[in-house]
Symmetry: C2
Subunit: 384 residues, 2 copies
């Protein structure tokens, strides 16, 4: 018999607990229906409430505790406190988001994967109807680069102050993320074939490929890592002659995401540039209300990967039961698919959840419904 797969659930702040509750109720249905060997434990941290009581966002051994799980399902972090207190907002934002970055770093979740498809029913921001064909996967380097937190403030607070921030990129991390991108491009092409869908991308030499990887840099201004990224990309590309390659500067990429997002397939970007492009991709696929975010460590099965919706804790609507759980439910589906890499039953449950949420979205669109109503509608689809 398969070992039980264990999930650490960290609902967090604001609307986090509300949307997570719907995920749990869907997981219960799926577990029951498919006799899944699946268990979960809820943690009261990281959260603002925990911070208020203990003076820290989570216990000192939080990472050790979480390591015992196969995945972390996170709601949302960040409680600004009273909304009229501007300073408190500014302050607590960076404190409460700390654990997010610590999990990514602590478990070396070096891939941040954010799929962007404009599903039927989701809000369409672009005028051009080809927006319906948006189907890209933005892969963000999630372990280094602009996010190494090195730097400081010299002569802080004086007119002569100098603030520095170091960006550090290693060839090893560059290679693994670019290779991951090419592997995903192949996988997506073969998944499309199974659904009898094809796409075609032209290589520089004029050949037609079923998939594409677009590398993002700003190598005309940030030369050092831009050149390294480009060289590694060209090296690895040679191993994937079946995948078309492309390169965009980050500023031009943002433009093209708006002008012709349907022309992209897999997009690989650095930590900060990926952060920017994934938010942009999220809005193109309907907004924060539908966008999942997966922080993965594909190379070490001893540490959990972490799954969160791209949206924040939305303190302005928290506690009212009106937050849209769609992104959280898509995120949960993604988690099951990831956990099911070697367990077809789990993977199938993930797909079932995805299709239930997508069907609900297609039927109801962005109609105003309560958190519970949407959760119930999805659950109903899972039961029947």
């Amino acid at each position: 018999m398969a070992q039980t797969t264990r999930i650490a659930v960290t609902p967090g702040d604001g609307i986090g607990p509300e949307v997570v509750a719907e995920s749990i109720r869907c997981l219960e249905v799926l577990k029951d229906k498919h006799k899944l060997a699946l268990d979960w434990t809820q943690f009261p941290w990281p959260s603002h409430a925990w911070h208020q009581e203990h003076g820290e966002s989570w216990p000192a051994d939080a990472l050790v505790q979480l390591q015992a799980y196969d995945a972390i399902l996170l709601g949302a972090l960040g409680d600004p406190g009273p909304l009229h207190d501007k300073d408190r907002y500014l302050l607590s934002d960076s404190v409460s988001l700390g654990p997010l970055l610590e999990m990514r770093k602590g478990f070396d979740q070096w891939v941040c994967e954010r799929p962007a498809r404009l599903l039927p029913g989701a809000r369409q921001y672009l005028k051009d109807d080809r927006a319906k064909d948006i189907d890209m996967l933005v892969i963000r380097e999630n372990s280094e680069g602009e996010y190494v937190s090195q730097g400081g403030r010299l002569r802080q607070g004086t007119p002569d102050e100098v603030a520095t921030q170091m960006e550090v990129f290693t060839r090893r991390a560059t290679e693994r993320i670019i290779r991951y991108g090419f592997d995903q491009a192949r996988k997506r092409a073969s998944d499309r074939l199974k659904e009898a869908r094809t796409r075609s991308f032209r290589t520089f030499e004029g050949h037609i490929c079923e998939s594409q990887v677009c590398l993002i840099t700003k190598r005309n201004a940030l030369r050092y890592w831009g050149d390294m990224y480009t060289e590694v990309f060209e090296e690895i590309a040679r191993e994937y002659p079946d995948v078309a390659t492309h390169h965009e500067l980050v500023d031009a990429a943002c433009m093209k995401f708006v002008q012709s997002p349907w022309a992209f397939d897999v997009v690989v970007a650095s930590n900060l540039q990926g952060d920017i492009l994934t938010d942009l991709a999220a809005v193109l696929s309907g907004g924060m209300g539908v966008a999942p975010s997966c922080n993965l460590n594909p190379s070490n099965t001893d540490v959990p990967s972490m799954f969160e919706p791209t949206h924040g804790s939305a303190p302005d609507i928290a506690g009212q039961g009106i937050a849209d759980p769609t992104a959280m439910l898509f995120t949960t589906a993604r988690m099951l698919e990831w956990l099911g890499r070697k367990d077809p039953v789990l993977a199938h449950a993930g797909q079932e959840l995805f299709h239930a949420v997508a069907a609900d979205l297609a039927e109801k669109g962005t109609q105003r419904r309560s958190t519970r109503e949407i959760g119930d509608a999805v659950r109903q689809r899972l039961i029947t």
Copy 2:
């Protein structure tokens, strides 16, 4: 009598010379009509052709020569050479764009200003019709930050390679760019009043202001300069109680540029984040075909400011006479307005050119016309 205002015209590569030619022909009409004390000299550099002949993009004393002028009007830089030669493209891109960054640095053009309005006739990418109300000014710090070119590649080409890139921000440069942003917000509000237009922005305390400055950072991840930017912003904001303030993280800002760009007024961002946001703002206001870019040094009248369209040299359509000169003409109008800060006749000529180009755009939209046809149509409007 007023001293003659002198412009250095650097057409550059690709479609640069073609669109610059239309600007010159318009300048001739305006000079004649208003007896402007205006002169210009064309330079064959910086350009790819010059590079091929001399082994460098421009002469060693280029900056000294240019310093004698009041402004630089630049077409576009970057000639990829034969388009089927991929490697050559990659190489020459960063070489040929060098002079752009050297001018900005050499003349301390510390403001990069890119207005974004969706003018009638321009292409609208967003579905929401409020896109017609887009009217923002993105102000980019143009002298330091991510663009200081410090860093390197350790163990280059080996599996152990580490590439670093340093970001350096000074409080002085931070103060001047933020203060510039607030001044522009005030100026815009007063200009709007003259046209009997008003806008309203709510402050944190609930007051209504006629203008707003939104600061962009990524302070939850790039903490050092993010904190410094935030502190300086809050300090300076106190001197402008009539201007509403706002703060966005760069990733959220990209989302909101797509979701509700009409809610922004003045936006102040760092060099790289500004680069990204200005490209995004450009596409929201109709695309590269209409977007001007102004590299200004407002504090030193002894050095020229530089004006260029946001678009590149578009080698794929160069030499065919089909490039749209609209962005170049808008850029030229901006230049005249800038040069006319203390010369009402020059400023008026700039506005006249702006209105002629805008009227042509409103009438013809994005209809396919040759470079010359568009130039002629605008000239005709100036003559009559």
